[in-house]
Symmetry: C2
Subunit: 617 residues, 2 copies
Amino acid sequence: MADRVGYTVDVEAAGQLQCFLDGRHAALRRETRARLSALPLDKADGLGRDDYRDLVLEWTKGLGLAGDGARSFPVAYGGQDDPGGRIATFQTVGHSDLSLLVKMGVQFGLFGGAIHRLGTRKHHDAYLRDIGTLELPGCFAMSEIGHGSDVRSLRTQARYDAEAGEFVLHTPDETARKDWIGGAALHARVAVVFAQLDVAGQAQGVHAFVVPIRSADGEVLDGVEIEDCGDKMGLQGVDNGRLRFHAVRVPRDNLLDRFGSVSAEGVYTSPVASPGARFFTMIGALVEGRICIAGAGLAVARNALTIAVRWGERRQQFGTGLEADTPLMDYLTHQRRLLPAICESYVLQAAHDHLTDSYVALLDGGEGQRDVEALAAGLKAVATWHTVQAVQQARECCGGKGYLTENRFASLRGDSDVFVTFEGDNTVLMQLVAKTLLSDYAAQFEDLDAFGMVRSLTSRQAGRLLGGLSRRAADLDDPVWQAEALAFREDRLVDSLARRLRTLVKDGTDPLRALALCQDHALAAARAHVERHAHELFRERATSPLLQQVRDLGALSTIERDRAWWLEHGYLSADDSRALQKKVNVLCADLRPQALTLVAGFGIPDALLRAPIATAV
Amino acid sequence: MADRVGYTVDVEAAGQLQCFLDGRHAALRRETRARLSALPLDKADGLGRDDYRDLVLEWTKGLGLAGDGARSFPVAYGGQDDPGGRIATFQTVGHSDLSLLVKMGVQFGLFGGAIHRLGTRKHHDAYLRDIGTLELPGCFAMSEIGHGSDVRSLRTQARYDAEAGEFVLHTPDETARKDWIGGAALHARVAVVFAQLDVAGQAQGVHAFVVPIRSADGEVLDGVEIEDCGDKMGLQGVDNGRLRFHAVRVPRDNLLDRFGSVSAEGVYTSPVASPGARFFTMIGALVEGRICIAGAGLAVARNALTIAVRWGERRQQFGTGLEADTPLMDYLTHQRRLLPAICESYVLQAAHDHLTDSYVALLDGGEGQRDVEALAAGLKAVATWHTVQAVQQARECCGGKGYLTENRFASLRGDSDVFVTFEGDNTVLMQLVAKTLLSDYAAQFEDLDAFGMVRSLTSRQAGRLLGGLSRRAADLDDPVWQAEALAFREDRLVDSLARRLRTLVKDGTDPLRALALCQDHALAAARAHVERHAHELFRERATSPLLQQVRDLGALSTIERDRAWWLEHGYLSADDSRALQKKVNVLCADLRPQALTLVAGFGIPDALLRAPIATAV
């Protein structure tokens, strides 16, 4: 068509979007993008597994030395005391090689984070500097084959031998085998091992120990047994391994003793009185990992969406009802597959920023650990499921081109797919969210005081519920209506879940059994919570007209997806619901000219996208 | 728990299920499974791309010689004149290595099928026997880079040179480059090339030509240019390539001339008068490919679901609310992720069987080509999207275990992902379905006689519509209610689509533009059609109590997924809709003890599953 004007990037608007996404760590993200762009990432293409692992180790070391390794460590150990910056950096690495991402996460985040957060001065002095520079490669040995999602039930043993002044680490049977330990198969010289501490026959719960597993020249140490997990669907540059310990002895100082220590004579003391609280304090280390994976998942989705939009602008589709030179992006189905996902990607970033800030505040001595943990769990699940969906849609939108390895979907998908099941399986994480929603004191619930929990909850929710019920007429254009619709769903789902549980428990069902019976309900409540929360945060920051379009399409497509729920609860009439679908179509059409701008706002350099079909148009 | 009794396979019931799925080709499927089980499929694991391709060629040859190559060819050429058998065999190969599947599909189905169906006696004599034994490896060069989904617009030229008595095949520019041609990169010696026939300056439309591309010793012939498509997300054992022709000359006999021939003097004649009809007759060859891919997609989904269910029975999940030794399959979320997909897999097989029968009848001279084409398009799309979903859910249900290459999800997913975009992009295919639904005479619609089309349609639909409207009270247990709900949705969606189009066209919108504006509506109508059709066919054959449970969960979970639609149309009340969700939970719980039996019914030998986590329990 002679008169067709191609859409181009609105550079000014894209810059504002990038500013929004980069947030308070803009300079650091910019610097990281430049550093990543300078890496010869293509060297990994087609490389054999072992070479790829070595290459990733080398890259990790380079980034470590450049400052990314110790970023969250104290200044005294070469760091910058900047955990928020570390999380932002990690997300940025999510635009590049994901084996590199996970390798960095293991070394600096999990391994380094455990030494930093669970250890004390003596451990920091001994290890932190060398961790940040990768002089000391390590691993984080928590997961066991039989207890992937329940750390409290780990079975690796750590018995204190007072006579020798040593701990004896032991794998009693196959279910206690450490599994999926990144770094263990090849590079790690030291493992932080989570094990059940036994002092003089007294079980003191899970504690973390520094356990050397390889000599400086890479020999596996006596009593340590290591296997490679083998080939994986992705992340082949990460050396995941299995660990077994056969009465391995480490000095008493190797207990990371910030939250519990053992005297030479064998007396256990802890600054945290309750074993339950102590446990939760200790596994707080996992929270940062989940925040990081949520952020990285969003980054991966953005790579995929960028590639698909750029191809969709360039690729013309023939013979399906429009003019012969109509770009794919002009088609409604194409818009519906990509634009709501792009909006969601912006919306979830607002939640991620807020979560990062809350987490940093917590580290600085703030309150609300349970809330941060619940949000980290919920956002990790919602964001990584979003990743899987967005990557798949984007791949399909690129047809055969998307199937070619060179266009990156193979690695984007293969590498990120495990995000939905590692660092806590998403389904399990969403149940944690639901439990937290059901009570500000989940411990109370786990202590089976379900009646008290349910009573306190229903009264707490009542206020918001009534507010929700009084506002029914659908005004799709009104962000307040969108907000209230999302809040109404959350409140009602939590309220009805609590009622169902109360009824079941009243009738004699064990409370945990009752929760299992309502599992789908609990997942729906958790999702409603995360979505309401994320859209609320985004709405507050959606100040430009373009961000407001993103807000509207993001919120209305979210509501549309689950519109049956609002129909069932009389919040949407049948006419409202049909209008909602039309509105989503209209918003797609309205936003469509900005598609290239929206992905330009993701700010991913071509050197990181590395997809021939996506070179900037 | 001491008193827990594990579920086991009900061998009798599993046998009946397998009987249902194997259908009329049970003996052949059994024989094929045995033949596939004897192949050393593990040899492909970790193999480099080139070695893998050679191995697949060797396997293909072996299966060809064993009878799978010529199965649909005439007896005179070593065949069995059994296209239905070929389709069943192909589906069975879908349980094994998918590169082997696609290689067989290209050689025997596309390449052989084109020679068989588009050629005449002289071509059959010259090629068919050697195709079936793979003495003559070939390829099917239809797709072009610029015209993936619209064969009619292909741009490769075939000009008849009357003086020389030859056709001159030529690639005029880069958009006419043949792309994604399986077999072209390495093994094919001959290509069936689809090109625009030009006889004495007269365009005669797309025809197929036999074009040698390599010598017997593998040298690429003069004027032919071949590139490898490169690494792919999966199917690395298939040598996809790109072809360009530079004034390549072939004898006049190399036109596959069943539907159009050129005399030595350069006079074009065809037994099919209308160019439109001729074109559709000619690309009827594509229909069998789509039927085959639909069947293979169902097979792949079954592998994934079998692995996940077996692991879900064995794997215990801790600390999420049930007893410590509760298998994953006891959890509602796990049941909801796997059981409806299993039911859908059974349901869609009924549609596949029916489609195969209709196709075979068509080859035998029966009526209804357009219907078969539409159903093949629709079932291919719905079945392969089902594959993507089922494989993803199954992978997630297996957690980290599912991420290990050894447990097969990497290849199940990577290899089958292209199913949704090749042999016709699913989105485009669903639009074809919608067009067929809109009129028994799609040609009429494409000739822009939209008014006539819409008028004829709305009166045709009126009868069924009224029937649907009169039956509103939800009786979820009643298969007649389930059937009517699905029929009501289809009828209403098609009716409202027609009305919208009519209004748009009345207001001056170009009819094809109007269809593009209603694209999401068209896709919904197409899906509603395929689902109604499949469930109808399954219902008729669901004679055992277990199959009736499958029918109920299959139908109700299908309705549940799109329940907003029925709510919007007053067919479900809010209470009905809530009851529907509860009912799906109950049906999941009811069917859960049969989970192992349901996947045993898929009848996939361990030698084909090859997943350590799925060795029969």
